[in-house]
Each structure stands twice: as structure tokens, then as C-alpha cells.
């Protein structure tokens, strides 16, 4: 299926969805949002791209194998829990940077954990939808 309308709309919508997913990720600590929802929005954006341009082009754009994205996300999440051990605090203690940064707000290990969840959710949704599209094409 190749539709010009869908392809053109995807070009405009994909950056918007990725930007909104990062917005959801960053402000998710105290307000609705967070790593999971942000990852779902980004995964939906890549799914849209795969529907418009085909799976091979979408994996080209993603650059990384989505299964590696899952591994990297798990590594980031675990490292956020281990970081407090190096300072002699109990495991999983939340560490916060003293000053809030201008755009992002307060930065700390819970934020790092959210980034890990974000990467895992993108990897899982993209793996599922790409393999579904590939099975459909056969």
C-alpha cells in the first residue's frame, strides 16, 4: 500500500509525535505522563512511518535494531538503581541534582529510570508492529 496523502502527512506528523513524546517523558515525574506513555507515542510514530513507507525504510530511519533498544533501556534503568550504591546509600535511593535545570526541571535518578522505561517501551512496540507488518507482507 502506498498512499501519497499518508506519506506526506507522516512527514509532518512524525516530528510532532516524537517531540510530544519527549515532552511527556520530561514532565512525567509530578504530572501525568512519564516514560511509558512517551514511549508509546514514539512507538506509534514509528508504526505510522512503517505503514506509510514500508518496514525496511522505517528500520533504516530508526538506525538501531529495536531489540538493542530494549537492552539499552534495561541497562539504563538498572544503572539508575545502582547509582546510589556508589555514594554509600541504600539501593534505589532517589538522588536529585540540587538546582532545577532551565527547561527540563529537576534531574535525578528517577528521571534516568524513566528514560530507561522510555527506551524499553519504544523497542517493544516497534519490534511487535514491525514483525506484524512483515508477517502481513508475506
Amino acid at each position: 500500500m502506498h498512499s501519497l496523502i499518508l506519506a506526506t502527512a507522516t512527514r509532518l506528523l512524525l516530528p510532532l509525535m516524537l517531540m510530544f513524546s519527549i515532552f511527556l517523558l520530561i514532565r512525567g515525574h509530578n504530572e501525568p505522563g512519564g516514560g511509558f506513555v512517551g514511549g508509546l507515542v514514539a512507538g506509534a510514530g514509528f508504526t505510522l512511518y512503517a505503514a506509510a513507507y514500508g518496514v525496511s525504510q522505517a528500520s533504516n530511519m530508526l538506525r538501531i535494531d529495536p531489540k538493542r533498544l530494549i537492552g539499552a533501556g534495561l541497562l539504563v534503568a538498572v544503572s539508575s538503581a545502582l547509582l546510589s550504591l556508589f555514594l554509600g546509600l541504600p539501593l534505589m535511593t532517589g538522588l536529585w541534582y540540587k538546582e532545577p535545570l532551565p527547561v527540563i526541571g529537576k534531574v535525578g535518578t528517577p528521571m534516568l529510570f524513566d528514560v530507561g522505561v522510555y527506551l524499553v517501551v519504544i523497542g517493544v512496540t516497534v519490534t511487535i508492529t514491525f514483525s506484524l507488518f512483515e508477517a502481513e507482507g508475506e
Binding site: 500500500m1 510532532l16 511527556l24 506513555v37 508509546l40 507515542v41 506509534a44 502481513e136
Partner: protein, 87 residues
């Protein structure tokens, strides 16, 4: 004042509006009719979220409406993909 109008006029009208596509969804003779009915229900859901955010003064619901607006049509695209393949 605006909240009162939204609560007693806009929300009932939207409730009626969301009931009509349900009839089309149940009775619709063909698959595309049902797909379009689902899409219309998604759009009305966005309107209900926005009205709810106005009534309760909670801007968080506007973000939910934004997410549904960005994601909702992907389901329609998937249905279009499926129907094109079936015909």
C-alpha cells in the same frame, strides 16, 4: 458561567453525538461504515476530554485529548490497510 454552559448544554449534546455513531457501528451494512463510525467516536471523545478539562479546570485532560488526537487515527489507518488487503 462558561462551566455551567459546558456542563448543562455542551456535555449532553456530546453525549447524544456519541450515541449516534454507536447505531452506525451496530447496524452498519459494510466494514468501512463501521470504521468511519469508530473514527467519529474518537473525535467526539477528544471533544468530551476538552469539555471535561474546561468544567473541572484541569489542564491535564487537554494532554490526554492531544494524545488521543495524535494516536487515534492510526487505528483507522490499520483498518484501511486491512480492508484494502481483503478486497
Amino acid at each position: 458561567m462558561v462551566q455551567t454552559i459546558a456542563l448543562w448544554v455542551v456535555l449532553p449534546l456530546l453525549s447524544i453525538a456519541v450515541a449516534l455513531p454507536v447505531i452506525r457501528l451496530v447496524r452498519g451494512p459494510s466494514l468501512p461504515d463501521r470504521v468511519v463510525a469508530l473514527d467519529v467516536m474518537g473525535t467526539i471523545a477528544i471533544a468530551i476530554f476538552a469539555t471535561y478539562a474546561l468544567i473541572n479546570r484541569k489542564p491535564a485532560f487537554l494532554d490526554a485529548a492531544l494524545v488521543v488526537g495524535l494516536i487515534g487515527f492510526i487505528g483507522t489507518i490499520a483498518f484501511a490497510y486491512y480492508t484494502e488487503r481483503r478486497i
